[in-house]
Amino acid sequence: MDHDQIKDKLDAYDDNELSIGERHEVTAHLEACAECRTNAEEWKKTTDMFFKTPQLPSSEEFVHRVMARIERLEPADVREQGGLRRALNRWFYPAFVGAAVAGFLFIMTVPMPEPKAPLDSLLFEYKAENIPSDWLVSADVAREDQILRYVMGEI
């Protein structure tokens, strides 16, 4: 690796995300290259300043405040809510979605019986028997049954 390639690897080096071979190579380069060494040191100081300071002391007051808020909660409810939510997330919701998908697929794959005659000719024939409209066909139960039996091939 040349200088620029090493420079690109400095972050990964710092993050311990390099292979052993790459790590050795970068380490050797850092010993020889002042620029890369300065960059690495600068980043170390930056991270120390931004992410490792201040050293936050443990505060009993903070613990008391949190525990006081928890006192106001009902622990039994918390456990039950947690258990219920977990059960819903793990079983009920996936089962519900699965059942819906299975139902949809079943409906889509069931073969529908073919009518014996085209709908147009069927209506035409019944209109010929003075049935005034398609709506009246539906309203007249006896005739509707007759039409259904005809469509299903029973007559």
Binding site: D11, D15, T46, T53, L56, V63, R65, R79, G82
Partner: protein, 190 residues
């Protein structure tokens, strides 16, 4: 089973006071994470309390797949990112605006001939610099520098590729480096 796991079990079986041990043990870590992400000490303190309450309420959902601090960190991170999104003001302050607002605070703070800056001054300045980073950058920096996530863990957590993680982390660090150099230059470069 770790000591944390034992405490979680004790809490779930009704020994609520045991939870104080976990709060005591992880308060500094949670508070620091909140401070990095929110860049505001008051908001960070409130958020840290909320995190422990949320963790308590979700304790039954902790199954030990990850360690307790990692699980707690995820809650912290999600809570703070939610707060940042709700703020909506997205911290669009440019570097120039910050300079204008703070005048030459950085230089003054670092001028050894002037009154010695307090650690609070430093922290205020650090918070301000952090607040100018975009939420995406703060998020990935916090995951790596505070949470200690590996690249793979970050990719999984952020639901993106390893290359995307590396690219975003590189850009975030570059921006932080530039701002740190600008405001805290002599302190960092010396």
């Amino acid at each position: 089973m770790t000591d944390d796991d034992k405490i979680v079990r004790a809490v779930l079986s009704g020994n609520r006071d045991s939870y104080a041990t976990l709060v005591r043990r992880y308060q500094a870590q949670v508070l620091r994470s909140c401070l990095v992400l929110l860049a505001n000490p008051v908001e960070a303190e409130d958020a840290a309390q909320d995190v422990f309450i949320k963790a308590y309420e979700s304790l039954a959902g902790f199954h030990g797949e990850s360690s307790f601090p990692t699980w707690l960190y995820r809650i912290t991170h999600n809570h703070c990112m939610d707060l940042l999104r709700k703020k909506k003001r997205q911290k669009t302050d440019s570097l120039d605006n910050l300079v204008e607002d703070r005048h030459d605070t950085g230089e003054k703070l670092l001028d050894v001939n002037r009154t010695k800056p307090s650690s609070q001054d430093y922290q205020d300045l650090i918070n301000e610099v952090m607040s100018t980073l975009s939420p995406d950058y703060k998020e990935i920096l916090a995951l790596r520098e505070v949470g200690g996530f590996t690249y793979e863990e970050m990719a999984s957590y952020l639901r993106c590729t390893l290359d995307a993680v590396k690219a975003r982390l590189r850009r975030a660090r570059q921006e932080l480096r530039e701002k740190a150099r600008h405001f805290l230059g002599s302190k960092i470069v010396q």
